[in-house]
């Protein structure tokens, strides 16, 4: 999938994560802050990268502000931001396909 325009998903509430994506040209440029950085920073990064890979996103500038979100929430926020960025988030989502 290609990031066509900036998009944002999620909130800064506890247990949520706010994900912002913008078009990029330099591969995956991830900026991550988390309220549980020491304990889960590595895993959060892995989840975000794995989700982007599944969506076949090659170039993106992505910022994640995590407030202790579980993996299922992180995935949901990344996917929503990516689908929003190409204007395809409202219908015909490939549930169970690249979204899983």
């Amino acid at each position: 999938m290609e990031i066509l325009k900036p998009a944002i998903a999620g909130t800064l509430e506890s247990s949520d994560a706010q994900v912002t994506v913008e078009p990029g040209q330099d591969g995956i440029e991830l900026s991550l802050t988390s309220s549980v950085m020491n304990q889960y920073g590595r895993q959060i990064k892995a989840t975000v990268l794995e989700t982007l890979e599944r969506l076949n996103v090659q170039h993106v500038r992505i910022t994640v502000v995590d407030k202790g979100a579980l993996d299922c929430t992180l995935k949901a926020r990344v996917e929503c931001a990516v689908f929003r960025s190409c204007g395809q988030s409202e219908e015909n989502i490939p549930w169970g396909g690249v979204v899983q």
Partner: protein, 519 residues
């Protein structure tokens, strides 16, 4: 050297007779020689000890660089006195290399962080350490390792001379002109002054700081004039709104209520739940709510509580007034209901920290306590509890009376949610051991109850009462299945804080946290 809870204690700390923790009641039966203060004689009659300022009082007591000053924490987050005294000592008198030995410190004391960074304060001895001060100490900026003690361990250390207090500063809601202090009757009431009593008897000098001067003699006094060198009157010793909160309300949160009900169920299933039983609870949501459900069991079985101790708040005062508990013995008040009750409601008494929990005297209250209900930041599969360091390794809590009550009570119940946000409360190894597992009996979470295998008698009680329980390993696995298994924290070598067990042995150390980098 590894101690009895499996923590590695640097040998460099094991000097001057310091030992590692070797299990509860290790020091039982041993003799100790108590220290005595070097005090000034005030034989010549004087009408009053009033001095004009804290700076003047410091000079009167011969304050010098390198000294240890002590404080109590009855004014809690509303305290002004610690900051006022340290400001006068450092900025007006130009003193340095000072040690603060407080019964606890908290968010009110953020300015101290600045003095630590400037190297003016080189030592901290306390139960609680929070806010900016916690961050600064965790970052290794304090010249000597902080010493963390429980409410019972502190008077023990003072009496044994392990802490030598040069000047004790006693914030007093009321005082007369010669230093008889009380915790009620003023404009910044706090209730008891139990944490200040040992300081008053063992410090070389004692200065009373009050914002309400009353007629002589201010009796019955919690701190006596015979121990006081000087009295200073200031505009305000603290913010009343933060000293005693408005009446503590029992939580409405269904999760808290669910856990509280299970706590009461567990307690009621044990043989000690009978006429005249004794009880202590913390003030967290589920802990306090347990009072409510316990009362229902008391009514059902027509039994009364004999006595209750601890930090006291409204709901316990309610029980006293309803005649459902015989006596309430109070070491600290958390809300206005409690402050307005002590010394006034019949059978609501004050006690000193030593009477409450000192393991080295001839028998503190905790030794006779039946039940205690406590919270935890973390608890591991060995039932060791952490109430001091956050899961990010930063100092942000306090052992308080936790280790003392756990050690003394017949049944110690820890109540806590299984996870908090993305943090597993039940874990493989706690970041810091503040209460050793051999003192913790039952864990009640929102996902199940676990009993320490060291208590087969309690396992039998729960089984006979039909209360389901699981292993603590199962709870840990459930926690990790919800939030994922966390990476271990990484530490540098520098020891930033020493965790003393209540008997003075070393329970654990806190090191400087290695800053995390995402590669």
């Amino acid at each position: 050297m590894k101690n009895a809870v499996g923590r590695e204690i640097p040998d460099s700390l094991l000097v001057n007779g310091r030992e590692v923790y070797q299990g509860k009641q290790y020091m039982d039966g041993k003799y100790l020689q108590k220290a005595a203060p070097r005090t000034r004689r005030y034989e010549k009659p004087q009408e009053s000890k009033l001095l004009d300022s804290i700076a003047e009082a410091l000079r009167h007591c011969g304050a010098k660089s390198g000294m240890t000053f002590s404080f109590h924490h009855h004014l809690r987050d509303g305290d002004y006195v610690v900051n006022m005294v340290m400001k006068a000592a450092i900025e007006e008198l130009g003193l340095a290399d000072l040690t603060i030995a407080a019964s606890s410190l908290g968010s009110a004391h953020d300015p101290i962080a600045g003095y630590i960074e400037d190297g003016k304060v080189v030592g901290i001895q306390t139960s609680g350490i929070r806010g900016r001060m916690g961050e600064v100490v965790s970052a290794g900026r304090l010249k000597t390792p902080a010493i963390i003690r429980s409410h019972g361990g502190r008077p023990r250390a003072i009496e044994a001379g392990e802490v030598h207090i040069d000047i004790a500063f006693i914030a007093a809601p009321t005082s007369d002109c010669v230093g008889n202090c009380r915790g009620i009757g003023g404009k910044s009431d706090c209730g008891p002054l139990g944490y200040a009593m040992t300081d008053a008897k063992y410090a070389d000098h004692v200065v009373v700081v009050t914002d309400c001067l009353v007629d002589f003699p201010n009796f019955p006094a919690s701190v006596e004039a015979i121990d006081v060198d000087a009295v200073v009157v200031v505009d305000s010793i603290g913010n009343p709104k933060k000293i005693a909160s408005a009446a503590a309300r029992i939580s409405q949160n269904p999760r808290d209520l669910m856990m509280a009900e299970n706590v009461a169920k567990v307690i009621a299933s044990t043989p000690w739940f009978q006429e005249g039983f004794s009880f202590q609870t913390g003030v967290g949501g589920p802990s306090l709510a347990a009072n409510l459900f316990l009362e229902q069991y008391m009514d059902q079985r027509n039994i009364k509580m004999g006595w209750a101790i601890g930090g006291i708040c409204g709901p316990m005062v309610e029980l006293l007034k309803k005649g459902k508990v015989g006596k309430v013995i109070d070491v600290q008040d958390f809300d206005l209901d409690a402050v307005n009750s002590i010394h006034r409601t019949p059978n609501h008494f004050e006690m000193s920290a030593s009477q409450y929990a000192n393991p080295a005297n001839k028998g503190a209250f905790v030794n006779k306590l039946d039940f205690v209900v406590l919270a935890a930041l973390e608890i591991d599969t060995g039932f060791n509890v952490n109430v001091l360091t956050g899961s990010d390794g930063v100092l942000r809590g306090a052992p308080g009376g936790h280790p003392d009550t756990a050690a003394g009570s017949k049944v110690c119940v820890i109540v806590t949610p299984l996870v908090r946000g993305r943090m597993a409360t039940v874990c493989e190894h706690v970041v810091t051991v503040t209460t050793p597992g051999d003192c913790v009996d039952v864990l009640v979470t929102d996902y199940g109850i676990a009993v320490n295998p060291l208590r087969p008698d309690l396992i039998q009680c729960l089984d006979e009462a039909g209360i389901p329980h699981v292993t603590i390993e199962a709870l840990k696995e459930k926690a990790y299945s919800l939030v994922g298994r966390p990476d271990d924290l990484e530490w540098e070598d520098q020891v930033v804080a020493i965790l003393e067990a209540r008997d003075g042995t070393i329970l654990d150390v806190v090191r400087k946290i290695k800053p995390f980098t995402l590669e």
